[in-house]
Amino acid sequence: MAMVSINGEDRALDGPDDTVLLWGLRDMAGLTGTKYGCGTGLCGACTVHVDGKAVKSCQITVGEVAGSSVTTIEGLDANGDHPVQVAWREANVPQCGFCQSGQIMQAASLLAENPRPTDEQILQGMSDNICRCGCYERIVSAVRLAATGA
């Protein structure tokens, strides 16, 4: 059983230490905003922050994040009003919405590291996250909007 700080709260995850963090979050912590899309780190639907940085939660175990601080989409902002979330709503980005938690977490991490990314940095920085509905143009616009306000 691993003790992990999730969204600012210490949680005991009731499973073996080699439990994949994604499933620890979903099945053990009940935080279903983080999605399973591929299990192999190829789609980004499961992106969360570990100590502030984007990590694919299907590629890390609960044991590996013991003592770390994990942030999921549910904890990105207490009111759901992180600038990236606000920009996402402004641009009416989602279609089906399933990949969007991961996209938002990736974008928030990208902007935390580089508050004024160039368009090329946005395109490259978001390229680990697949959107099968094809919302990329709006995703890029929303990241730019969150960064610059325009």
Binding site: G33, L42, Q95, C96, V140
Partner: protein
């Protein structure tokens, strides 16, 4: 689509819709009728506000509903709760349909809440969310129910205040007469007890008074929940006592496990049960493939347990399915005469007497849907009842199938519809729900079945594989006088009925027999191809290979003849007219997407118009820098017309990029232009993905690809960077059609035609890779 499959199996041809007439109700009629007693705020002009027309919705199972009590409730505090009865998979119908009702009713959108209907077609009418039908079939009933509630509110207010109904005005979320004023909430109880007016007695808003319809100013219903992680999809459902199952399914359809060793699986902490599921062999509709299920206390353990199984699979008659050899055989087949589906004029004579014959073959590989949400469902079977939570496109069809699989009465099954994390046709097929239902029944606990991405790519219901051969005969004056199109592809029908190797009327209605070219002699044929994998429908279905073939061919033909492509295509389409299927050799069972043909005819003027629009906006004809090119394509599907003008830039290393694409769409009346745009943006991306990447290939009967590393998607580092959507404006009288699917088919040929102009390289097979 499902009901069509069942129909196709149950009966045979003759699917001509009966000739139905409908009373045209004009504004003049309203004013003369009893509706005139209400001076509803909607009255504005003398134009026909809403003349009802016939759609295929009436022929769908359980048809349409018009009673607002089924869809609308108003609380005393004014909250208006509207029922969304169609499944939301990203097209926005869960927003757009209630929005139509709310606007017509006079509701303030900020006071509207949406609830999702369970699978209950006897109550809500048809719920099969497929075929780009939601707006097309339901926009009229939504308007009618909205207008009904508005009238009922006015009527209740008139009685309450003791005034003549003609003095009552219904504003936005408010009703007034002189100094009397009341919110919708105050009148709700009385209003909902008023009789529901007949259609003929209703007044409708003039289009100039729409606040939301046609405006694109309403954010999608689930926007906040999606952006905060609260939106609920299939796998997000948690039920007390629930177990999670992950299943090892046969790699080759129909193969049975000869033996298996589960010792390592049992060593995974959390694994609780390992059990066999009966193997099915197509045609088995949506019966689960069967296999070995590992049931655990959590998903992590279930996946690890499943992956630890060592299974020896027995033989299957489909073991010899190898994609390369199969494609070669399809090419051969396409060059032979096929079964003739449409014959107009005398194609044989035209080819025999031709001064020149030109032909090419175009192929497409199998595709997997690969929605971001892999199939997942929760079922709880207890006390003779079953409750389902699942992301399904056909909730009532699912309910019937679950009842059948469990041996229950359909009344004892409830299907709760979650959001769908993408559908694309995959979630029309409820095999994953049936797996959970069977396991729950067996174990006596609620069960979630979770498909992994590998399961999704390897064990789904593929888009078919195809070879389309197109040939034209030209006379001495270089005029095209003969057309032959032989489509060879295993049929979706093989999933439902013994495989004849031939396609059926739905597939042939998608860009095959309905070819809109004004050529005097046509032979539209279908060569034989037996299915060796489960074939299902994928967004846009047969329109993808048909548009790929025909629109690539037109470009090639123009080059061959030294003609401009736009000019050549406009000439092939010919005069402004509506095709006349009975006199043009169409089959008796010609399928116009389930519509009454005269209401949604093949209109060449609209087809040419979107082509010209896309060409103009994309700057067709302008000189392009080296390595860059423009490409055109146009296709009518799902009774919507879409053209694409792609701008391709091929990089020095051969990488294909699409800096921009112009999409011109004519979908009749545009109810929600904002979601039309998002569908065109998505279609451009999915079209580029299928052009560059999408192939599931088979070796010895088993799928080779397994996840996003070898079944790739277009990503943000190389996608159509700017999608310009041009919506052809129409009044409500031009019947609204759908946009979920029609954007996809023209994209791949537009990109490939642009590559030709950029590089001189002609591509005839998709996918063709990111680098050429």
């Amino acid at each position: 689509m499902l009901h069509m499959m069942e129909h196709a199996i149950a009966s045979a041809p003759a699917r001509k819709a009966p000739g139905l007439t409908f009373a045209k109700v004009s504004r003049r009629n309203f004013l003369q009728g009893s509706a005139a007693v209400f001076a509803v705020a909607a009255f504005a002009s003398e134009a026909d506000a809403f003349a009802r027309y016939k759609t295929g919705g009436d022929f769908m199972p359980h048809g349409l509903r018009y009673d607002p009590h089924l869809f609308v409730s108003i609380d005393a505090d004014g909250t208006v709760t509207l029922v969304a009865h169609r499944s939301e998979m990203g097209t926005g119908s869960r927003t757009s349909l209630p929005m139509v009702l709310a606007d017509e009713m006079g509701a303030d959108w900020s006071m509207v809440e949406i609830v999702q209907a369970p699978g209950d077609e006897p109550k809500y009418g048809n719920q099969d969310t497929d075929g780009s039908r939601s707006l097309r079939h339901h926009i009229q009933s939504m308007r009618q129910m909205g207008a009904s509630v508005r009238h009922m509110l006015a009527s209740a207010a008139a009685k309450k205040w003791g005034v003549d109904a003609s003095a009552v005005t219904v504003g936005v979320h408010e009703v007034s007469a002189g100094s009397n004023k009341a919110g919708f909430g105050e009148l709700a109880a009385d209003a909902m007890n008023e009789a529901v007016p007949a259609f003929e007695d209703l007044s409708f808003r003039d289009e100039s008074q729409f606040r939301y319809i046609g405006k694109g100013n309403v954010p999608i219903t689930d926007l906040h929940d999606i952006t905060t992680g609260k939106a609920m999809y299939g796998a997000d459902v948690m039920v007390d006592g629930m177990k999670v199952a992950v299943i090892a399914r046969p790699p080759v359809v129909g193969a049975r496990p000869v033996s298996y060793d589960a010792s390592d699986a049992w060593n995974v902490p959390g694994v609780e049960h390992i059990m066999g599921l009966p193997i099915s062999m197509p045609p088995a509709k949506f019966a689960p493939l069967g296999g070995i299920a590992v049931v655990a206390s959590n998903t992590d353990a279930a996946i690890k347990g499943r992956d630890a199984l060592r299974i020896e699979w027995g033989p299957s008659p489909h073991d010899s399915y190898n994609s390369d050899a199969y494609m070669a055989a399809m090419r051969e087949e396409s060059r032979k005469p096929g079964k003739v589906f449409r014959a107009e004029g005398d194609a044989a004579a035209a080819f025999a007497g031709a001064a020149k014959v030109f032909g090419q073959e175009y192929t497409q590989a199998h595709m997997a849907h690969a929605a971001m949400e892999p199939p997942a469902a929760v079922v709880s079977v207890a006390n003779g009842k079953a409750e389902v939570w699942a992301p399904v496109q056909s909730p009532y069809g699912t309910r019937g199938d679950v009842a059948g699989a469990l041996g229950m009465d359909i009344a004892d099954v409830t299907v709760n519809v979650t959001l769908l994390g993408g559908g694309f046709g995959r979630k029309s097929k409820c095999d994953f729900v049936l797996e959970a239902a069977l396991l729950s029944q067996k174990l006596g606990t609620p069960v979630k079945v979770q498909w992994t991405r590998e399961d999704d790519i390897q064990n789904g219901f593929n888009h078919t594989v195809s070879c389309e051969r197109v040939e034209v005969a030209m006379d001495a004056g270089n005029k095209v006088v003969g057309w032959r199109h032989n489509s060879v592809a295993p049929s979706i029908l093989s999933t439902f009925a013994p495989d004849s190797g031939h396609q059926f009327f739905i597939e042939s209605g998608m860009g095959h027999v309905d070819i809109p070219f004004e050529i005097p002699n046509l032979s539209v044929e279908n060569g034989k191809a037996m299915a060796h994998a489960r074939i299902g429908w994928f967004r846009s279905v047969s329109n993808i290979p048909r548009a790929w073939a025909v629109q690539s061919f037109v470009s090639e033909l123009a080059h061959e003849m030294g003609r401009d492509e736009l000019e050549m295509q406009l000439e092939l389409i010919g005069s402004d007219r509506k095709l006349d299927p009975p006199s043009q050799g169409f089959p008796d069972n010609f399928w116009d997407y389930g519509e009454v043909y005269d209401e949604y005819p093949i209109d060449t003027m609209r087809l040419k118009n979107v082509l010209k629009l896309a060409a103009e906006k994309g700057g067709w004809g302008r000189a392009m820098p080296k390595g860059e090119g423009l490409g055109l394509a146009v296709h009518r599907s799902f009774v919507t017309y879409v053209a694409a003008c792609a701008h391709v830039k091929v990089m020095d290393d051969g990488r294909v990029t699409v800096p921009e694409i112009h999409m011109a769409v004519d979908c009749g009346f545009a109810a929600n232009p904002e979601r039309i745009r998002s569908q065109m943006e998505g279609a451009a991306v999915q079209g580029m993905t299928l052009a560059l990447h999408s192939a599931v290939t088979y070796e010895n009967g088993a799928a080779v690809q397994s996840n996003y590393h070898d079944y790739q998607m277009v990503r943000s580092d190389n996608f159509p960077n700017r999608v310009h959507t041009h919506v052809v404006p129409h009044p409500f009288s031009v019947h609204a059609s759908g946009v979920g699917e029609p954007g996809v088919p023209p994209v791949a040929p537009a990109i490939a035609n642009a590559i030709f102009h950029a590089t001189g390289k002609r591509i005839r097979d998709i996918p063709f890779g990111e680098f050429i």
